[in-house]
């Protein structure tokens, strides 16, 4: 009684194939049996799938066949459409065969190539599809036997959906294939003409474009008559000369406006359609940009006069927008962001300057520690560390890397890079660890932080530099900040991961013995997360090194600056040597840290 559940209608093949296929059941019972016995031959074609595959596939819900058929047909037909496209061009060229030998040869070649390809794709593709269709349908039948959710039977709803998909995809694609490449300028001119006419219509009190053209025509005719009258006078006074110039300007301006109006009037529906759907996404809206505003912090004279030396205030400088300038959504938004960054920079100058200062001071101190420690001491420390935590082979590698830096006289520069990495990593740890812990503990914070971290990791590292410069200027401190933003995600993520990975049962045991939340974190979760945290630290250091190179673009000193320099001067050798030095520094740190990590996880 409690045996396997029985499912209606599918226990027997005889019953289940008709239940699945619904129509042409005898045919599919036979076909499926052949496929299952391995007796299906390549020339056993499914005629419906061969002739009208989209309808067959859609109503039976074999969407794989549907999409493959669509792809084959569109590809084949697009090739054939080239005949429609180049046919008229060939005819035109044939009108004058002597001057067009090159064109005639080229068009004929294209037409025959595309024609043959199209025919082969269509015919071959359909034949192949016809022979595969039953196999795919059989595979679907097998999946249906496992799960009821798989499409089965014949449904009108799916047929309608298939036709809808075809109606959206096919015609516009085929139409595109018959058209030559669009001139981008033409679409832009359409928009410009539209905007100009829109502005001119109320100005000249015209109700339609026709009236507008008439108005310009009469204005021009009028002015031309006056000009003719003046010209008839022969000798002109200075006053009359200037009047003639004025009239000429009127003629020029109005003719140009008339041309614009006429060109707007002659835009056909086809032109609009082409610009809207064929190539690029059309420009939906253009805006008049807001007035350009600059915020600037200047000494506050009043307060200084009142005795408060060093007082400053934010002033606003507004410049008028360029007459008639219209921008698209992208430019409008980008300029808006510029203005707000500019405002924040001026408003919170104290904060940004203080941050810059703290960063600079700590950087200087670490730099001093690295650069003013005699090189034998630093080298010795590196070798001792690797000797203590790694194997002899790695120690030899570390020693040779140090020798490389020394021989090529890159020692001090490498130490500068290290200082930058150390400061950035320290900040990453101090910020990343608590954030990671919080993330592990709070579900909602995790939901919020995870996408932010993903964005931080995926935004191209160069684009960090721009806002860093905007807020903090050009020099080492913004380079540190950009490096921190780039390098902190693994620290945060792996801390959270390490804590989340602690088995529920272990935490439960700790609680059962009376641990408080703090004790749970300090005595159970953090110690057990240490391998993961160390992995995060390692990644953070590697990322910091790579970013330290890139941030040379905004004035970070060190090996990166050498690379940037050689990029500017196209000195490949210099760049390569500096690059190798960076790689060696990275690998040294990585190997030593790995050794330390391994010694941690052994306990």
């Amino acid at each position: 009684m409690n045996g396997a559940e029985t499912r209606d209608n599918i226990d027997e093949r005889d019953i289940s194939v008709p239940a699945f296929a619904e129509r042409s059941t005898d045919y599919y019972t036979r076909v499926f049996e052949n496929v299952q016995r391995g007796q299906s031959r390549p020339w056993d074609l499914n005629l419906w799938a061969l002739l009208i595959p989209w309808f067959w596939a859609a109503q039976r819900g074999v969407w794989l066949v549907f999409w493959v058929a669509l792809a084959i047909d569109v590809l084949g037909l697009v090739c054939l459409m080239q005949l429609v496209k180049f046919g008229p061009l060939l005819d035109a060229a044939l009108q004058d065969p002597d001057n067009n030998t090159v064109l005639i040869e080229r068009y004929s070649r294209w037409i025959s190539n595309f024609g043959w390809t199209g025919a082969v794709v269509l015919l071959g593709g359909r034949l192949w599809l016809g022979s595969r269709a039953n196999h795919w349908y059989y595979a679907q039948y097998n999946r249906w036997r496992i799960s009821d959710a798989v499409n089965s039977g014949v449904l009108l709803k799916r047929l309608v959906m298939g036709i809808l998909i075809m109606a959206i995809v096919a015609p516009i694609t085929l139409y595109r294939a018959t058209e030559l490449r669009l001139d981008q300028r033409a679409c832009f001119n359409q928009i410009r003409a539209g905007e100009t006419v829109e502005r001119l219509l109320p100005e000249y009190g015209a109700a339609s474009v026709g009236e507008l053209i008439d108005a310009f025509q009469s204005l021009v005719a009028d002015a031309e008559a006056r000009l003719a009258a003046l010209d008839a006078l022969g000798e002109l006074t200075a006053e009359q000369k200037s009047e003639r110039n004025a009239i000429r300007k009127i003629i020029r301006d109005n003719s140009r406006r008339m041309d614009t109006a006429i060109s707007y009037d002659t835009i056909s529906f086809k032109d609009r359609f082409d610009c809207a759907v064929i190539d690029d996404f059309p420009t939906l809206a253009r805006f008049t940009p807001p007035p350009e505003v600059r915020y600037r912090r200047v000494p506050d004279e009043e307060a200084i006069a009142a005795g408060n030396l060093g007082a400053t205030k934010v002033i606003v400088q507004e410049s008028a927008p360029v007459e008639g300038r219209r921008v698209n959504t992208f430019t409008y938004t980008a300029e808006g962001i510029d203005t707000s960054i500019n405002y924040l920079r001026a408003r919170f100058a104290g904060f940004f300057d203080a941050t810059t200062n703290v960063l600079r001071q700590s950087l200087i101190r670490v730099e001093v520690a690295f650069m003013q420690t005699p090189w034998p001491v630093v080298a010795f420390l590196f070798i001792v560390l690797s000797w203590a935590y790694t194997n002899p082979a790695t120690t030899i590698f570390v020693a040779s890397s140090l020798a490389f830096l020394a021989v090529f006289e890159l020692w001090q520069i490498a130490m500068q890079t290290m200082a930058l990495v150390v400061v950035a990593t320290a900040i990453c740890v101090f910020v990343g660890l608590p954030v990671g812990i919080w993330m592990a503990k709070n579900k909602y914070f995790r939901w919020f932080t995870e996408p932010v971290l993903d964005v931080m990791q995926t935004i191209p590292s160069l684009s960090y530099l721009v806002p860093a410069v905007a807020f903090f200027g050009i020099s080492q401190p913004p380079a540190v900040l950009a490096t921190v933003i780039f390098a902190i995600p693994p620290m945060v993520k792996l801390t959270a991961l390490g804590i989340l990975q602690v088995p529920e049962s272990t935490k439960e045991a700790a609680l059962a013995f009376g641990a408080s939340d703090r004790q749970l974190l300090r005595k159970v979760e953090l110690p057990m997360a240490i391998p993961s945290i160390m992995a995060g630290l390692n990644q953070t250091i590697m990322l910091a090194l790579s970013m330290a190179t890139i941030s040379a673009f905004i004035g970070a000193a060190g090996l990166g600056a050498l690379v940037t320099e050689s990029l500017g001067d196209a000195q490949a050798g210099k760049g390569l040597l500096a690059g190798v030095a960076i790689a060696l520094v990275a690998m040294m740190i990585d190997r030593i840290l790995r050794g330390i990590r391994a010694s941690f996880s052994r306990i």
Binding site: P503, S505, T506, L511, F513, K523, M528
Partner: protein, 350 residues
Amino acid sequence: MSDAVVELEGVWKVFGERAQEAMAAIRAEGLGKPEVLERFQAVVGVKDASFSVSKGEIFCLMGLSGSGKSTLVRHINRLIEPSAGTIRILGEDIGAMKSEQLRATRADKIGMVFQNMALLPHRSVRDNIGFALELRGMDGYHRAQAADRALETVSLHGYGDRLPSELSGGMQQRVGLARALAADPEILLMDEPFSALDPLIRRNLQDEFLNLSQTVKKTTVFITHDLDEAIRMGDRIGIMKDGEIVQIGTAEDIVTAPADDYVADFVAGISRLKLVSAAKIMVPPEKFSALNGPLSDAAHPEAAPTDDLDTLVELSTGTDLPVLIKDAGTLVGVVNKDTLLHGLQGSSEG
């Protein structure tokens, strides 16, 4: 019971986002499990559980996986909050405790052993055992001493400086037991402590634990899915099914008088030799005489009512005479071979 150490009264646990609503509906309308699941998407984990464990007693909770026994035992140290009902530890309502008091109770009064050991992999065996003491702020010196004493009780002397991963499963579970004993708690909660071990080691540890509890006299709640283990270990046994305790009693009660078919199914395969006493199967002398004629004057083997079937089998083997069951010299019943065989089989006669 005045000397009850652990007392549960009408404990319910409903899991789900709408547990409170579901609980209220259960109270008001007496809904069953399927209705609760359908109406509130809530699962009844424990259904109206009540029992008490007296001092020094080993109480076994037996049930198949998913019967709610592990959930129920976690209510005792409030790792899980009940949806309804009260739990008293040494007379104190654990549900009413503030968090500081609760942690003190967990650390000082209750030791827990887990099926998967749940030792801290980064700490030595000694530091694992001293964990509860460390949480209470005991200094390292006394902690190490207590840990070594606990190691000695579980016969793992000298393993204090190993890491848990260096020990076999059986040894790790001894460490788990030592950790639970280190703070010398009143109560031991054992959540399927020996289930993950292979049969030989399991048997070994069961014996050792029984010996140990003879000496340390801890009040113990012992979870198992193995009826044999429950019978070996438990002074009393509670049988759980679908979150409900269906029967509580001694091994003998459960084997001789199963409360329902479910329990009867369970005990069907259990050997009754050591479980059932003569009192349960003996026939009163008058009835015996009426059926079989008067007893002869020959030297009948004699036994007490508390003697188990094993003893009776032993007595009956050398002779054809029925065994006389005498309580303080007076004849209270008779067991002949038919009665004895029926008793062994489990079918009651007449």
